[in-house]
């Protein structure tokens, strides 16, 4: 559906609002190379991307978001700090709800600033909130960085930590892994495999690209895992406490500091959260009412690795979030060929902002 004049006007207003903060207006190609891009998005967007084949350029994708192209563009410059704004359509298949748009405008604001990440987090949140001022919205926030720090600090093998880190984005599998590592139980088939003199006795033919050597090395990894002691129930309880956290930001910070006493690994992530809350306060955000959820952001874009937030219509739970954003330091490292720039950004959907404003 063509974008309505009202939406275009609202998108322009928001882009001007971001530009007034010192952001440079940038554009991105609608057709993006698919291979690199899709690996960086989560399963959800990967499955919903419109792919097409180009005879010269290979597989291309209709831009499913702006952040990755903007990061790519930024990593080719030396500007630091830098602020960008953009406005344009993104394209995502809707596979379950036909009432949701499959192409819609996003107007965004991205900040690349390594000097003071807490201030940058607060800036992006506050600038987006100001763009939506007056609308009946509720904000949700979270911090993927706290959860990542907790996983990294577990007293268990590096392999197990890597597996848990990989599944931070898939809550069900994350929980299943945590339970398995905690139980020390080896399923009978697995036990038989590990005990076998020749695991390949009944193996049948070797076919496909995954070689016997790869299978052998996984068996070795499984043996090492079976020999590793189970994850302590204390640590599982602490992870559960972080995931189950749901409170105002001030209370959440206090609870996380309690958890940090038993789990010092999250100390620096919690201090970053404290610095961010202070910075948010300075920008006039009421952190005594701002919601914080320990699990928030775990099913959205996989490149977020710190502060995450979203704005939701208070009385319209069926609407997608009106605005979303977060910190994505690791993404800049992956796209920067060794160079990393701390970065945070967010997008507003002007069409939804207008719709919420009508009520």
């Amino acid at each position: 559906m063509p974008t309505s004049p009202a939406t275009l006007k609202e998108a322009r207003r928001l882009r001007d609002h971001f530009a007034a903060q010192g952001a440079v207006v940038v554009k991105a190609d609608v057709l993006q190379p698919a291979d690199l891009l899709l690996d960086l998005y989560g399963e959800d967007i990967r499955a919903r991307a419109y792919l097409t084949a180009d005879p010269l350029r290979g597989e291309m994708v209709l831009r499913p978001d702006f952040t990755v192209p903007v990061v790519q563009m930024h990593m080719e410059t030396d500007a630091d700090p830098a602020r960008y704004t953009y406005s344009g359509k993104v394209f995502r298949k809707q596979e379950t709800d036909e009432n949701r748009a499959n192409e819609f405008v996003q107007t965004g604001y991205e900040v690349f600033d390594g000097q003071n990440p807490a201030a940058a987090d607060a800036e992006v949140f506050a600038v987006i909130a100001a763009g939506l001022a007056g609308l009946p919205l509720r904000a949700a926030t979270g911090d993927i960085g706290v959860l990542m720090a907790a996983v990294k600090g577990l007293r268990t093998t590096e392999d197990r930590k890597a597996a848990l880190m990989r599944h931070i984005w898939r809550p069900a599998r994350f929980r299943a892994l945590l339970r398995r590592y905690g139980s020390g139980h080896v399923p009978p088939l697995r036990a038989a495999l590990l005990a076998a003199d020749d695991p390949f006795a009944q193996a049948g033919p070797d076919i496909g690209l995954r070689s016997r050597e790869e299978v052998t090395s996984r068996i070795a990894a499984l043996r090492a895992d079976a020999a590793a002691p189970p994850l302590s129930s204390d640590e599982i309880t602490l992870i559960d406490a972080i995931l189950g956290l749901r409170a105002t930001s001030t209370d959440a910070l206090s609870m996380l500091r309690d958890i940090a006493v038993d789990m010092p690994a999250i100390g620096s992530a919690v201090r970053r959260m404290e610095a961010r809350l202070n910075a948010l306060s300075l920008r006039g955000i009421d952190i005594d009412t701002l919601e914080f959820e320990g699990s928030y952001g775990r099913t959205s874009l996989e490149y977020y690795d710190g502060f995450v937030f979203g704005f939701y219509a208070s009385d319209r739970p069926e609407l997608p979030p009106i605005a979303t954003g977060g910190r994505y330091d690791a993404l800049t490292a992956r796209l920067g060929q060794g160079r990393a720039v701390p970065a945070v950004g967010g997008v507003i959907r002007p069409d939804l902002a207008l719709e919420v404003g009508k009520c």
């Binding site: 690996d39 399963e43 499955a47 596979e95 379950t96 709800d97 036909e98 597996a163 990989r166 599944h167 984005w169 898939r170 809550p171 069900a172 599998r173 994350f174 299943a176 398995r180 088939l189 697995r190 495999l193 695991p199 390949f200 009944q202 193996a203 049948g204 033919p205 070797d206 076919i207 496909g208 690209l209 995954r210 016997r212 790869e214 299978v215 090395s217 996984r218 068996i219 990894a221 499984l222």
Partner: protein
Amino acid sequence: MLKLGVPSKGRLMEKTFDWFGARGVTLRKSGSEREYAGAVDGVDGVELVLLSAGEIPRELAAGNIQLGVTGSDLVREKLVNWGSRVTELAPMGFGGADLVIAVPQGWVDVDTLDDLDAAAAAFRARHGFRLRIATKYHRLVREFLRDHGVADYQLIDSQGATEGTVKNETAEAIADITSTGETLRANGLKILSDGLIHASQATLFRGKRSDWSDVQRKTLKTLLNTLDI
């Protein structure tokens, strides 16, 4: 007229004719063997339309036919929110086949989805691309793997001879329909112990569109009474 879509050839058509016949409704092809028109005896107001089984879900959703016989797997694969577009009237007890995930027998370390996920992570690190699963059931497979938290795979489209893709090294694993598993075994593959995505069978569906006439609704009632559903 109430249009009933039935698979246009092969065992599925014959079994469908038998199923209706056993319940007092005779379906038959009219005219020559090549024509895709048919006739219905035993209930008035029902027209037989012969279609490819793969087209029946879409035709039901579009309202071009009101009733249809097809595999429950095809309805789930081809219709977004299938439950809001069609209703299952009766499972018919034939055409049974399982949509399963299968991997090479040589993967002695892989028996469950949990193993598949771990193998996919290691495979991606080693080969630089995500483990390929060949299938034609993209939606069903993706939903299943997403619900079970499997990552680092990609789906490769395969519209036929899917079992051969692993040997040909165009995929590392497959998701395909099997009734006995024999073809999979013959191709050096095994089914994951928790890899059953959907147990399919031929099923009688009705479309859920609201634009049915009163006559059509009455005809359906008579038909269902005759069929004893």
